[in-house]
């Protein structure tokens, strides 16, 4: 009885401690020999990420004596997992985030700011390519993250299908649609374009890119403008590939991961694919050789709509940061320094497919391919950073899910016209205003 009483007392004390621990915790170095690292899914599958990162983290352990516990998390869950970790205070030490979320996550105050002293510990600002530093947090604050991988969207096209049809890669959106129509033959199960229709992050990215091409502003003075005529035009440009032009296989509305898209494209079931720069690796794994596809920037309508911008990609990429609750801050920074070192960048980027974020890594001839040149050119000349404001992540979830639903409706044969798009975007806009 006595023992049980003590156990009960202990339980209630732990409970009370647990409750009061919510939100406290500052980060210290009380556990210097271990780290937990949440990596994002960069490779073809979570297993592949584990296989690539595993040996590198062993190298890190040999070098520093710090054992890293790795968990690779898929994109559909990553943001929710990070939010849950933020609210409970029970999270990893080091975490990868989509770079577009930087300002939103920074606003939670859960991440170690990279002030000058801190960033010096991971090699200093000068180590990173300047454009990659544009999406690491809100303007005027020390960044909450540093870049880990660079990415950009490109239009991949199947050279053989294009040559057989006597086509050249499209220079404008109108050409893209015309080519896609010529290359669509549902009887042969061949379509002009393949899309990841069930992915809300993809939906949000394209809503931004095509919205900008049509002259839209996502936010004005902190107020959302998701339902402006320009945004409607932008979302329509994307969704219409399935709804109006019918150059996308309706099954794509169920595609949630890259794997489905890469498989269709590699098998010649789709002639074009808009995807980020990591794709060549995945295509090779699906049996498509480097010479069989080409990459050009995603085209804009010609002439550009009034106020439109020639945006072929957002400044995409993966950032890495340290949770304030870490018990091993020094170790966490060492791990980030290690992963962003030129040598590791060469290894990780060649195996997983993104672009290095440090200048030195590009000396390697592996990064001198025509595709990588195209992507670097897109990043330098035809890309914009998503707004670095706290509400950015809500834009992605709200508008991304709206786009996803519109694609699902189009696939199921429901009408998707300007009015449908406008009313759905207006609903998303209202949710943003009433929710935040």
């Amino acid at each position: 009885m006595k023992a049980r009483g003590i156990a009960a007392l202990a339980a209630s004390v732990t409970l009370a401690a647990g409750l009061s621990a919510c939100g406290s915790g500052g980060g210290d170095d009380s556990s210097p020999k271990s780290l937990t690292y949440w990596a994002s899914n960069q490779g073809r599958s979570i297993q592949q990420d584990q296989q690539v990162l595993g040996p590198e983290l062993k190298k890190f352990e040999a070098k520093t004596g710090i054992k890293v516990k790795l968990e690779v998390i898929g994109w559909p869950d990553l943001l929710n997992r990070i939010l849950a970790a933020t609210s409970s205070g029970q999270g990893p030490d080091v975490v990868n985030v989509g770079n577009t979320w930087s300002a939103s996550l920074q606003a939670t105050g859960a991440f170690q700011p990279f002030d000058d002293a801190t960033i010096a510990k991971v090699g200093g600002k000068a180590k990173f390519i300047p454009s990659t530093l544009t999406s690491t947090g809100a303007a005027g604050k020390p960044p909450a993250f540093v870049p880990l991988y660079g990415l950009a969207y490109g239009l991949f096209y199947n050279k053989k299908l294009f040559a057989d049809a006597g086509l050249k890669p499209p220079q404008s959106w109108q050409e893209l649609v015309a080519d896609a129509k010529k290359l669509t033959d549902p009887a042969k199960k061949q379509y002009g374009v393949v899309m990841e229709g069930a992915s809300y992050t993809e939906g949000a990215h394209f809503a931004f890119m095509f919205g900008r091409q049509n002259g839209a502003n996502l936010f004005q003075g902190g107020q959302p403008g998701f339902d402006s005529p320009q945004m409607v035009a932008g979302v329509k440009q994307y969704v219409d590939l399935m709804a109006g032009q019918k150059v996308v296989n309706p099954s794509n509305a169920e595609y949630l991961n890259d794997a489905d898209m890469l498989k269709d494209f590699a098998a010649g079931k789709a002639a074009m694919m808009m995807i980020q720069s990591y794709a060549p690796k995945g295509l090779a794994e699906n049996g498509m050789k480097a010479g069989e596809f080409g990459v050009v920037p995603i085209p804009a309508p010609d002439p550009l709509p009034p106020g439109g911008h020639k945006v072929s990609s957002h400044v995409a990429g993966i950032n890495i940061g340290v949770f304030k609750n870490t018990k091993n801050k020094d170790g966490a920074l060492k791990l980030i320094d290690f992963l962003t070192s030129p040598d590791e960048q060469k290894i990780l980027d060649t195996q997983l497919g993104p672009l290095p974020v440090v200048q030195q890594a590009y000396n390697d001839p592996k990064f001198q391919t025509p595709e990588i040149k195209t992507f670097r050119d897109i990043l330098a000349n035809a890309s914009e950073t998503l707004p670095m404001i706290p509400q950015e992540a809500q834009f992605e979830t709200l508008v991304g899910n709206t786009v996803k639903q519109l694609i699902a409706d189009a696939a199921a044969g429901r009408p998707v016209d300007d009015q449908t798009i406008q009313s759905r975007l207006a609903a998303a806009n209202k949710k943003m205003q009433s929710g935040g």
């Binding site: 009885m1 049980r4 009483g5 156990a7 009960a8 339980a11 209630s12 409970l15 409750l19 919510c22 939100g23 406290s24 559909p76 943001l79 929710n80 939010l83 933020t86 609210s87 205070g89 939103s104 996550l105 606003a107 939670t108 105050g109 859960a110 809300y200 309706p250 099954s251 509305a253 169920e254 949630l256 706290p390 992540a393 809500q394 979830t397 709200l398 899910n401 996803k404 639903q405 699902a408 409706d409 696939a411 199921a412 044969g413 429901r414 207006a426 609903a427 998303a428 209202k430 949710k431 943003m432 009433s434 929710g435 935040g436």
Partner: protein, 323 residues
């Protein structure tokens, strides 16, 4: 407090006024409370405190700026509730839509599960060869882990490579082309089918146990009076199963109405036609990162379930008193 309460039945065994007992008495009286204490603490920790915390959170503007330290979130009064029930706004419209879908799914799932369960239990009552095998087979869906079972359904419902379309369109030619099951209107069918498949074995198991307690001579007497199968079912089986049914229907209702796992594994983010309410609330909070709004919706849901459950139990008690 412990001094004034004595466990019933203890007093006579004690010699009144014996000094040794006077010392022991308070400790003995304390014992039941100490034994209940761990359960009480567990109940508080698992049910009551989180519920109260949820209710408190529903009054806060709990956005991304405060989720790390939500004690600092500004007090918003009933703002979240106003957003959740303002039928002019998209948030409340979606919530009501999701509520109606959930009610429809629940009614169908409870009715179908109960009917299948009853039919199977009645037909497996008489011993015959292979009865044990059938019983075991029927219980398989209930014994499988949710994730394994539902992810299999998800693969089967896929448009291009799913077994459902292969069977319905390619083999039996019952459907034209390949319809979607995980998107659009058919997703409602999908969620009902998977839920019934998962839940009816429980109805079967419970009703089978209920049937065991009906004395066989009642059936014999009914048979002598010339009652056929349907009459015996209506006049003997169903009335005597009433106490079992009362609990069974309530449990099936609560499980289906509150179910998160099935819809989550099947759709990840359910389409509008299969938007079960618990996952709707979860997604709604993550859409705008306003967890206060999500909590307010949860409190409303809790209130609804409480009213239904109390009303149902109260009505049942009245009926059994009159019976």
């Amino acid at each position: 407090m412990s001094r004034t309460v004595t466990a019933p039945g203890e007093a006579p065994s004690r010699a009144p006024g014996a000094p040794a007992h006077r010392v022991r008495r308070p400790r003995r009286a304390l014992l039941p409370y100490l034994l209940v204490l761990p359960a009480l603490i567990a109940e508080l920790a698992i049910h009551v405190i989180p519920m109260l915390v949820g209710a408190w959170m529903s009054l806060l503007h709990l956005t991304q700026f405060f989720i790390r330290n939500w004690t600092a979130a500004p007090y918003g009064g009933l703002t979240n509730y106003r957003v959740a029930v303002d039928t002019n706004g998209p948030v409340a419209k979606d919530l009501i839509h999701s509520f109606l879908i959930t009610v429809a799914v629940t009614v169908l799932v409870v009715a179908l599960s109960w009917m299948f369960g009853l039919a199977a239990a009645v037909f497996l009552e008489k011993p015959f060869r292979g009865r044990g095998v059938l019983r075991t087979l029927f219980l398989v869906p209930y014994a499988l882990p949710v994730f394994t079972a539902v992810i299999t359904w998800r693969f089967m419902f896929q448009r291009d490579n799913g077994m459902v379309n292969a069977l319905l369109s390619d083999e039996l030619h019952l459907a034209h082309g390949h319809p979607f099951w995980l998107l659009g209107g058919n997703s409602f069918v999908a969620i009902v089918v998977v839920n019934v498949w998962r839940l009816w074995p429980f109805a079967f198991l419970t009703l089978m146990a209920g049937l065991q307690s009906i004395p066989g001579d009642l059936y014999e007497a009914a048979a002598i009076d010339g009652a056929g199968f349907a009459r015996r079912l209506r006049s003997v089986t169903l009335p005597l199963l009433r106490p079992v049914n009362r609990v069974l229907l309530l449990v099936l209702f609560l499980w289906t109405f509150n179910d998160f796992n099935t819809a989550y594994v099947l759709f990840e983010q359910p389409p509008a036609d299969a938007d079960m309410i618990s996952i709707h609330i979860y997604n709604a909070s993550f859409l705008t990162w306003n967890f206060g709004l999500g909590s307010a919706m949860s409190v409303l849901l809790l209130a609804f379930l409480l009213v239904v459950t109390l009303g149902y139990l109260g009505a049942g008690r009245l009926r059994s008193r009159h019976a």
